[in-house]
Subunit: 406 residues, 4 copies
């Protein structure tokens, strides 16, 4: 059935004018970074539910990540979080990763879990706390050098809960000063990815509240600073794909933290609540790659696709499998958009024609395509089924409950 | 200065047609319940910051609550949370409360912190977990009888994170079955207060998502079931005072959980983000008391005003003082609305006149009024200043860090 | 290619356990009512753009609607709006409709375009305006009897812009009194469909603001009153499919006004902004039909599926075609959900399994299925292509610009 | 009573450390521009309600504006909209304004009411429409030179309703090209104020969707381009005062369009829905003026405070009076914030102290202060009462119904 399905798919897509050779090549090149913390226990402010089998240390997290990569071929790197993944010898962690066919991805400093950071880290009114925070950032730059990570990925919980609580413009200046110091410490091939978030854990103002603040800061810092878009960090209704297109055009889109949301920063599995939105994000990326010019196309190549979710109630590894598979699915669908057709319709102000050209790609079933790609890559056709039928899930139960969490 | 200020205030309000004798009587009758958990450590999913001096057990929580009541005269009862306030002998806890001039207020069951409740409590697909949850509710009814609490205050974290995860209509039925059993266990003078919330900790659907679901359920249960409005539990833009007016007209408004929000369920100090909204809530209540008929007026008398907040970054007792004082302030302002004038303007379709009649009361400075009332009640004129100047705050530091939290 | 595609589709769906005979029967039974006003000019408050070819009167609107039905087989009835479709002789309009193979659907009173209604119609503080509004409603009941329409579809623009402007509880009472009078005028086989909306054109409060208010009112009126869900009339984040499931369980879901929104009441083409949401609505309906019991299943049969959109910038007839086709597509996908599988996964608390069982149906490409159904019904396989290739669109240009609008 | 009230107020504020001489000077310097279109009929997409007495031409609009200024001393300039205020001879309009004690304020081009602009003006895919739009902008620059207006105030309705409809990055480029051409046409003392809006009339994407896009564009254009903040143009929850502080720090805040909103772009009277927000905006402005440095202070002096509202249901002139008075009231309250106290509390991380220092100023009743200022300026103490008691409102009824509208 699979062969016939692919043959038919090929026929249909060829009739639509789609070049499947290029589509497959793009799919094989897709890389999605999974986060070490996505394998551990997580929760809401009301409760962290502990699960049996959760890894007890960074080394076990990499083992689980290797299982995700083994089954999907999609996830060859793992982001780490300091101090959650603190270890004596990062060279050893890197060797461990490499022995599993993985590399260490973005290094994520943690500036929100020390008592000192209650009222801010790099924007704290207390200069000694700002110093402590900057030192931690610099330590993370050093770790990134050891782990050979390209990206330092910065999310700040900094903000205030009440009007007057903080001096907003002073805090803005302190943020810039801190990042200028960190920027200088980077190697020439490293990047600073600056994340923004509208609220939580601060509930009145967040120092980097939206893409505009992150972008403006990146511009001031220099070409190695770029914006990181977390799909859950926007106000209701925000058009994320517009922001993506905008940042691409300015060549400041460094990467993504993928996850799903219906309300706030819900951190659900990517592609599970509004799959069309994820598809439309990829549409903008592929559109920019096609006609944005050489520099933008180059910039598209360096986008870091990363998962950042909280699997509070799900089994961790299956949840991560579902996440990377959902991203792959929407990417595959976006690759079936006949961009020239969309653009031609838009150029002649044919509203319904242009809309149809985009949506009709989304309505394609890409299962035959993904099966074919996986077959060519020697991967299981259905990674989730393969995992559930395999023994890895049982084997880790020996770890017991009470593994890593945050 | 205070005397002159009050004399002028009296003159001004009399000129506006306001009867200050009644206003003062209403102010003296105001009772705001504080929550035992508001004195303990709390936080976001990212971090709970521990504070020195936080009470280590229910008895110390009541001591702190007594300090709030001593200074304000506003907070004579304290809501408890089971099992956070679990104790061997609730009679002893009640005696302790009474010895401090307090009573025990609403009993709040906790159905979200046992591992079993990860996927729901009374709506769990597993009947044995539903049984366990109902038993806990029944236990809380028993406790309420011991503590002589009128209200059982029910908030359910029940909901789902993904489409398909739960059978929505079955869960609806299970919710109703559970509450029917609990309802039957109530004494005739007890009430079931049913809270609703649009999201968090569930991020796809919440079983009691809005006032309509809580109200419909209360109607099915009987006259002792009423709706509890938490001001932070609505979607962006929701007109809370409209809901309040609606529920009052149906005589199903049981009480409030006051707190402030700008984004989601931010749980900030009541009256700190949008004080006008709190004022408008009281406007609807006072309007219903005036012309809603005898039964509605009776129902207004039984509204439970309760604080429900998370003081993540604030000192606990001052945060609670600020909260009850803010509620008092907005209530005082609402008492200065000349309702007949508003209604007359509305009746003649005078848009600007009616709006002005409401807003102009909000613009009054009620400080002289509150000073006068406190003086007549033998309370400190400025409870916050009095607290900061006093020794209680220092005295509790001996408790150290690591007190009660959730 | 189509035959092979359908053969493969059949094989795949049979393997998934789906009974395509039933699926096809359901698809053939789908009826979507289009609104007469959807064929006319519309716009935003900033501008109504006039299009050539727009119908100049109700009779021409029915001609356009007949073209939509001729191509899709989906849209055999047309909702009318009074006075926009006012005519001397409704019997004549009905004959005209019937001669085109159409019937007259819901009658929609208009209570927002007379000067008198500026501050409310049935909730106006002025009793004579309330009388005028009720009389218009009664006139519409009479028209519905003449047009043999089952449903009176009620949307009220009533609300206020400012606190104090209206007496909220009095307005609530006036609303109820008005509808009680209208309810009594209905024939036994007629229904009152009550729509709700959170805001616009009123910006402080809307008298029927949410499903809870519409539902409570319907309950008070009697069994012939039901709730109408307009998919664009909710606050950001509202879980519409939850509301649908809830109303179905209470047997008070009368029908839908379908359209898409990203921000407010955007009135875009159904299924164009978040197609998964439309699919999930149908999932809840089909789930209720399957296991909600006989009465709920009966109630599902009577749901009125109606389009209500503003095609401000699109060609009118293609926009309507796209709308009904999108609804059909999502309904077809929902019919591929293996409900027993979803429910079994939910019953064993298998979060990822249940989620997958729902989403995987959405990922199917239903083109072969829809082609097969259309072929069996003697319809064009691609109604849009057929329309664009046909001459109807050109033929109506003779109408010129300046047709019907609102 | 007024004298005693002011004496007491002075005593109280002096005790708080406030310098009333400076406060009064600031109040007397406040200038709020009213919009010519705010005096005409307006409405929602559902209905424009015509009012008797509405001005029939620009000259009558200025007469009404003069009445607002005569009573308040606050509104000496009037923004005009082209072509709504198109006239043969702008010199004559200017003389008319000056004869009434007014000047002509910002010139607002209109790029949304010609049929050609249905799918965009400066971002239309059709180059000839882009040219037409740019020419209109250049015409408005010429008009501004004739009217001696400093500011060209640009709001674009440009955007799309559907994914794919427009090429987002091309449109971004066209927007920039257009404004570069307009920028070059400005005199050295003129400014380009760039407004942003998240949605409406476009419902999928707006080309200038948020402050970040407007700001980035302003930066590219040069120092005469600044951002215009319309308080109704943000997504739910947006912290507007944070954006204000941010733009001030970058010296790119050109001005405001004041109005109130609860849901979307509701365009209600400024200060009527959430007065605290308006106060907090002024707090950030005054804070920046105090300690932002000389250049920021200079930039604060040039902020254009403008009203932009739709008085759909209100009498026009009283609605405008209420608007400017509400702005004045919140500005007065903000002037009572003891900034040093706030900043000192923030600097020592005293959360509750800092919050209180801000909120306590809001709770002051500024009536005595405003009365004193008005008295010193020879203005009526209560401008609204004075208007209602006067004859102007009756005198304009002779204009009849059917005046200017949009």
């Amino acid at each position: 059935m699979n062969d016939r399905a692919y043959a038919l798919f090929e026929e249909q897509q060829t009739a639509r004018g789609i070049n499947l050779v290029e589509v497959k090549a793009s799919l094989k090149a897709l890389r999605i970074e999974t986060p070490s913390w996505g394998y551990g226990d997580s929760g809401t402010r009301f409760k962290v539910f502990q699960k049996a089998g959760v890894p007890r240390n960074p080394f076990e997290k990499f083992q689980d990540a290797a299982e995700v990569h083994r089954l999907t071929g999609l996830a060859p790197s793992v982001a780490i979080h300091i101090p959650w993944d603190k270890t004596e010898d990062y060279g050893k962690l890197r060797s461990h990763a490499e022995s599993l066919g993985l590399s260490i991805g973005a290094v994520n400093p943690n500036l929100f879990q020390e008592d000192e950071y209650m009222l801010g880290s790099v924007t704290n009114a207390d200069a000694s706390i700002r110093r402590m925070a900057i030192n931690h950032l610099l330590e993370c730059v050093d770790i990134a050098k050891e782990t050979r990570s390209r990206d330092l990925s910065l999310w700040f919980a900094d903000g205030t809960n009440y009007p007057g609580q903080g001096h907003i413009r002073n805090r803005k200046r302190w943020m810039q000063e801190a990042l200028e110091e960190v920027y200088k410490a980077l190697n020439a091939d490293m990047r600073l990815l600056i994340e923004y978030k509208c609220f939580e854990p601060a509930f009145y103002h967040t120092d980097l509240a939206d893409w505009g603040m992150a972008y403006n800061l990146a511009q001031k810092l220099g070409p190695q600073a770029e914006v990181l878009v977390d799909t859950g960090h926007h106000l209701p209704g925000a058009n994320i794909e517009h922001i993506v297109a905008y940042l691409l055009d300015e060549r400041r889109l460094g990467g993504f933290h993928f996850n799903s949301r219906k309300y706030a920063d819900d951190d659900l599995i990517a592609g599970s609540i509004n799959p069309y939105e994820l598809f439309l994000i990829f549409y903008q990326i592929l559109s920019a790659r096609q006609d944005g010019g050489a520099e933008v196309a180059e910039s598209v190549e360096h986008i870091a696709y990363m998962i950042d979710q909280s699997h509070n109630i799900e089994q961790k590894i299956p949840a991560m499998l579902r996440s990377v598979l959902n991203v792959q699915t929407q990417y595959a669908k976006a690759l079936l958009i006949h961009l020239d057709e969309v653009n031609a319709a838009a150029a002649r102000n044919d509203v319904l024609g242009a809309e149809h050209a985009v949506r009709s790609a989304f309505e394609c079933d890409v299962t035959p395509l993904l099966h074919a790609v996986r077959e060519e890559q020697g991967l299981p056709l259905d990674p989730m089924k393969s995992y559930l039928a395999g023994s890895y899930g049982d084997s880790i139960l020996a770890r017991g409950k009470g593994g890593a969490s945050w």
